[in-house]
Subunit: 134 residues, 2 copies
DNA sequence: ACTTGACCTGGAGTTAACTCCAGGTGCTAG
DNA sequence: CTAGCACCTGGAGTTAACTCCAGGTCAAGT
């Protein structure tokens, strides 16, 4: 699969895909004779994983470490698990903070709703008053 | 309240507080005769709000817009509400993505748990075998 | 009087994560 | 055979959000 298709499929720009390879987040992708990248199934799986983790804000350097361990084989299983657990912990914390902010936003939006209603009521009273005055 | 106390109270560095003021996120803070910032209650409330929003990832330029509208008074209520609703929507989307990533992480951690168990079992079998062999 | 420490300013530097670009190669359709 | 893409590389530029720094003021303690 060529870079443009991969880019299309995962919504990552070709530049980003090459960048990920440069920094060692994706191990060197196979090339066709002419030097053009030809992503295989394993590459795609890795890209999907990276995309998922990045979307949630996991930092690239942590992912590089993790993937380095994956490549070292079974002896690193416990270390990898520890990394994921730590990142899971951080993720949950961030989500809790976001939930708090969401509550604040809802509270404020609700205040604005009420303010808008009050404004409208005042407007209506004014209209009625004027109608009576005529 | 001096900048060091505010910094302490909200966990934002003095540099960050001055930076927020420079870019117009906090309206100009009053000074004592000697030119030193003296944060009042309104400043603190604004800082708390900003901190809460920033923690959830709301971008600074959006907050600058929002706060500019707050300062323009009641005529901007609907516009402000629209901003908060839009940010709320984006926040929910991000949280949903994070939840998906959390599920993937849990799945992977679980796989590692099983892998570790298997490893241990194999180890135990080996030990038992050796014990019998003796 | 002098040192210390908190504060000030304007401006430069940093970090993460891309994103863009110039200059070059190589298939393919007209 | 040549025009037009899609691809390549190494390196530079960008963006958001800080963070740091040099050089200066000022009040308080010794």
């Amino acid at each position: 699969m060529k870079i443009a298709e991969v880019s299309e499929k995962y919504g990552l720009s070709p530049d980003t895909l090459r960048y990920y390879e440069r920094i060692g987040l994706i191990s060197t992708v196979n090339r066709k004779e002419n030097g053009i990248r030809d992503y295989d199934e394993a590459d795609l799986q890795r890209i999907e994983f990276i995309k998922c983790m990045r979307r949630a804000g996991l930092p690239i350097d942590v992912l590089i470490d993790y993937i380095g361990l994956v490549e070292q084989g079974d002896s690193t299983i416990e270390e990898r698990k520890a990394i994921l657990q730590e990142q899971r912990r951080l993720l949950v914390t961030r989500m809790e903070e976001m939930q708090q902010t969401l509550n604040v936003l809802d509270y404020k939006i609700n205040l604005y709703d009420e303010a808008v209603l009050k404004k409208e009521k005042a407007m209506n009273r004014k209209i009625v008053k004027e109608a009576i005055a005529e």
